[in-house]
Amino acid sequence: MSTLAERILGAPAGSFVDRPVDRAFVHDGTGVLTLEAWRRMERDRLACPERLSILFDHIAPANNSTTAALQAELRTFAAEQGLHFSDVGGGICHQLMSEGIVRPGEVVVGADSHTCTLGAFGAFATGVGATDMAAIWASGSTWFRVPATIGVHLDGTLQGAAEAKDIALDYVRRIGMDGGTYMALEFLGEGVRDLSMESRLTIANMAVETGAKAGMFYADDTTARSLAAYGIHTAPQAIEACHYDREITLDLDDLVPLVAAPHRVDNGRPVAEFEGIALDEVFVGTCTNGRHSDLARVAAIVAGRKVAVRTIVVPASRAVLLRAAQSGVLTTLIEAGCTIGPPGCGPCLGAHMGVLGEGEVGLSTANRNFRNRMGVGADYYLCSPATAAASALRGAITAPEGSA
């Protein structure tokens, strides 16, 4: 009996396998090096252009003319080769791949570490570097070491103000920043049933923060319903009894909103312990928490009030932005004083649109709080959209209403 990773890769944990990839994508950052390496390989054509995507999100729109020139080169290449391409304003690569592209059982590689997000669909999705990606462009396949798996059991149901992000911060703190290195995480148990597709994407997204290669959910009715909205019909994946290297259990009934303090993602502790820390900025967005349900949660909390600190909201994709416009969420956020950025990564990687200054303190719904990442000399904390919204209203870290 196999784990989901073993089943998809078709070999037991520990084996080295060569596998064709079903989807492969790069963004404006990693695409530049990929293209350069691919050209140096001196291949005259791409092995599988129909399976490749180039999706601009990291510094999109460009912040200066150097970036613009690099992007122009990739844009031209995508057009020449007829690749699936998303230009500035389209949104974050992982989000776009989740909007009706990736399917259960596929092998998905992205030249970005958070490619594990797409494991939410029951795919084997993992990040690779630019040169590995260039070899995939050239050959259509790559090698994997089939990972051993940590079974993460979710018991019970989320209570009060706790959200999917708190589940993510909780398993990262339990497993630790390198406790999952070379492994896959499999999320199981009754607690999974109630989790929406968006919640599963948030949870799978942070698998790499434990060092894991993949974070996977078995496809079920929720998966099928979410893909059916894009006209894709899929069957559920049966869960087999199998061997896990380790197992941990999270009791969702007892989970409270968490905050990960600088500068480690596995520093999660109850919000109450940080209550009152003054903030210079709140950022809501990223491939972790920039989806419509996240924006709607923030809007519900700030509705009719004003944020007390600069609050930057960046939708994960154009579809999210459009839906927020149609649902009224956008109006509520703007009226509350939030600044809306164009779909993409926003300030997450510290390049533009909301980078923090020396000595400033930020609170963000992103997945990494590494030293200097979102601003040299700044401190920033990670949290859920609800905690971000409650804190934005007060200008200081605040537990969302309904927290135990």
Binding site: E42, D178, G350
Partner: protein
């Protein structure tokens, strides 16, 4: 294959943002990455990279998949990186760009002391002590011997 250099000691969980900051990524000029390597960790480190063997703590290279991180180290003249464990994307990227990396726990590091190591035989020698390391797989050694995955691929044609 025996490689050697002077030890540079670093701690655990050195992430790729610390190896090369996001603000330097938008260029193809590799010298820029070499000049700014480890800038946010310790600006004095860049000058010590030529001929260095980095002896780091666990989980070296965690974080983003940016390949500029191992390229920056290689361009700066680093002979190799030794750590008890590496983040997997960094490890793979390092081999792909021709930077020798070896998993080895228990090496005692003293800055500037000579270090030698063998990625194929699987050992590291520092401060007069020899520690056993995990040897690299045949394919990884082959890629390293060619100077990286691009050169390896060209040789396969």
């Amino acid at each position: 294959m025996i490689l050697q250099g002077r030890a540079v000691c670093l701690g655990a969980d050195v992430d790729t943002d610390l190896i090369i900051a996001g603000r330097y990524l938008r260029t193809k000029d590799r010298r820029v990455w070499a000049e700014h390597v480890f800038e946010d960790l310790d600006p004095a480190l860049a000058a010590r990279m030529e001929g260095a063997v980095i002896l780091a703590g666990t989980n070296f290279g965690c974080g983003s998949s940016r390949e500029q991180a191992p390229v920056a180290l290689r361009e700066a003249g680093v002979a190799g990186v030794i750590a008890p464990s590496f983040a997997r994307i960094f490890f793979r990227n390092a081999i792909n760009v021709g930077l020798p990396v070896v998993e080895c726990g228990g090496v005692r590091c003293s800055n500037d002391a000579p270090v030698s190591f063998s990625p194929d035989e699987g050992w590291v020698e520092a401060g007069g002590e020899r520690c056993t390391a995990t040897p690299l797989s045949g394919r990884m050694l082959d890629i390293l011997a060619h100077g990286g995955l691009v050169e390896y691929w060209r040789a396969q044609q």
